[in-house]
Subunit: 384 residues, 2 copies
């Protein structure tokens, strides 16, 4: 196990009817900005529950945060935050709304050009207080300090991390998943799954708890994910998927182990340049990345094959081929496609992605920095 | 899954040479009381590292905290805390030292007779700030708000819980385990194991992540525990056992599931009346409790048998007998005995325990309150 420091202060309120916990979480004298997306929360009852919980508070609203939230939209919210002296942001939505809210919270306190937080890694010294009501389990953003923002003008999709933007609390009510369209459920399951593999399918450092917990998340998503698209969808299924997604990226399984994230970095470029959903890009890249990097990941790929899929027979190459096939079949079972051609992308798109990776300095990705541009190209060519 | 609120703010510094993190964790202007036990920290180098990390701080010391820490000893520390206006307690030791430090931290701020916190469940409204340097992985006390204190005068061993006594930080350096005697390592492994079963071997509420994480802790302890007593003991083994013990009782695997704790409550009386080590009592009680309560725990016992021990053959009774035997063999493999007679206790001791359980209102224990005094007696009679 590697040395680590782990801390996660987000208080989680989990279960049906938990949105009312917002009342005691946000001080009555706070000036609250509710941030949200396209308005689905007004149809599924979440908005009404949030407003009821904030009775007596001074409340403002900012809506229209898009998937793959943009710098441009976020900066409009920053102007509102400053104008109205907002001192608490309540993000009501999925990872995009929460990520945007983190950037808004940091940018409002930032001296200088806030884009520097993303493009130059400028330090975030403080931020406006943040809470979250999660409506889409996927990114884990409700309980971590990470955020990914896209600058529309330049098609730059870049991450930043800061403990200052960690939500102080998060409400996870699994019943909100009943109103989600299938595409968002697919995205959520695959995103949580690949967050887990990014911290697990690397190389062995004898971190047995982290490995077992990661395998537990993968097994749960494999067992529960497909039920979301069938008559077996119950609130218990929703709950298990939702809690999996939080545990996949709250820092716990990633403490004391190497991280990969090459699938994410390549995927971000596919989203920024061609508009694919985040999880769609991950499901395309991961299977071929597992194959391309099979030598340096061999030990963990075989462990994953055995413990998660029960694959123990055959030589190393056979087992690795099998587990990649199983992984891809799992993605299909949650209605997720796994090829660039499924989205009408051909080899010319790969040139664009490789160029953007180079421009963003992503020339040596992965847990051992072995994913060169050439290997990224191989991965994408095999994903056509 | 049951509704829950989960929060754990303890910042963990894990790994070799992490004791130096104490320097930045405790404010320089704090008046610090270091609490510890019998002085083993002066032999294994931990004391010197702590003192070095506190260079420049105003430091006081309180030593002599015993295993199963007493109210009587703790109250001497409370007097010192008040006399010296202590505003930060740094517990350096195992669960006993940390538990005592929690009570000291709460009692120093308590209006009235502090024993009421334990005997009457009086509310803890505030406490002195607390940090921990862990020297013995076992209780999880370094990252939870629980504490168990014994009043020597009356042989009352009672727990209390408060978020106010949660350590703000904890240093977990697995290399300190090299100086531990075998008996303490045995105690640590068994304690962590049974903390896990108390939150797992109950009844199914379809909480798949919690189950998988609990099974991951059990599997890790089964794999790594016996190595502590062999030539295979490495720092990686230490680290895996240490991290298992923290995860076993930091609130995570217990969120959203029923809890048992009958083994602990019965075991506490054995310790209070006859002086057995805490984990020794648990290893005696659990196997027979599993048998006595096999009907109400059937589903989980079979799941435990299959996922942790690979037992899938035979009828229900056969599988349950097998898994109890496996569990007991595991305790033996970490040098832990499992019978009252191993400690020269006979049937007369059982009368004493039952009387004390009755006196403490422990007449309906377990996740369904089905462990009556009669069942507790059966469990102990079968444990002779």
């Amino acid at each position: 196990m590697l040395n680590f420091t782990f801390s996660n202060k987000t208080r989680i309120h989990f279960g049906e009817q938990q949105i009312k916990q917002v009342t005691q979480e946000i001080p009555l004298d706070a000036r609250v900005l509710i941030t949200y997306g396209g308005g689905s929360i007004k149809k599924n009852g979440v908005y009404d529950q949030v407003i009821a919980a904030l009775t007596g508070h001074t409340v403002f609203e900012f809506s229209g945060i898009e998937p793959n939230p943009s710098y441009e939209t976020s900066m409009k919210a920053v102007a509102l935050v400053k104008q109205e002296n907002i001192d608490y942001i309540l993000a009501v939505g999925g990872g995009s709304v929460i990520d945007a809210s983190k950037f808004i919270a940091a940018a409002a306190h930032f001296n200088g050009e806030p884009w520097d937080i993303l493009i130059k890694g400028a330090a975030v010294e403080s931020a406006i207080k943040l809470g979250a009501v999660l409506t889409l389990p996927a990114t884990g953003s409700e309980s971590n300090g990470g955020s990914v923002i896209t600058k529309l003008a330049t098609k730059d999709k870049l991450p930043f991390m800061s403990a200052h933007v960690l939500p102080l609390f998060a409400v996870l009510d699994p019943s909100v998943m009943d109103s989600l369209p299938a595409r968002q459920l697919s995205n959520g399951v695959v995103d949580a799954f690949i967050h887990t593999t990014e911290q697990y399918l690397t190389y062995d450092v004898d971190a047995k708890i982290q490995d077992r917990f990661a395998e537990g998340i993968l097994l749960t998503l494999i067992e529960e994910g497909p039920k979301l698209f069938s008559a077996e969808k119950t609130n218990a299924v929703n709950a298990n998927v939702m809690w999996s997604a939080t545990q996949a990226l709250n820092g716990l399984i990633g403490s004391g182990v190497p991280h990969d994230w090459a699938t994410h970095m390549i995927g971000h470029e596919l989203t920024a340049s061609f508009g694919l959903d985040h999880a769609q890009t991950l499901a395309i890249v991961l299977p071929r990345l597992m194959w391309e990097m099979r030598e340096s990941k061999e030990g963990k790929l075989l462990q994953y094959a055995e413990r998660v899929w029960g694959i123990t027979e055959g030589d190393v190459e056979t087992r690795i081929k099998q587990v990649i096939e199983k992984t891809e079949q799992f993605f299909h079972s949650v209605q997720m496609k796994t090829r660039l051609s499924d989205y009408d992308l051909d080899a010319t798109s790969i040139d664009v992605v490789i160029e953007q990776l180079e421009r963003h300095g992503m020339t040596q990705l992965g847990e051992r920095q072995l994913v060169t541009l050439e290997r990224s190209r191989n991965i994408l060519m095999n994903s056509l």
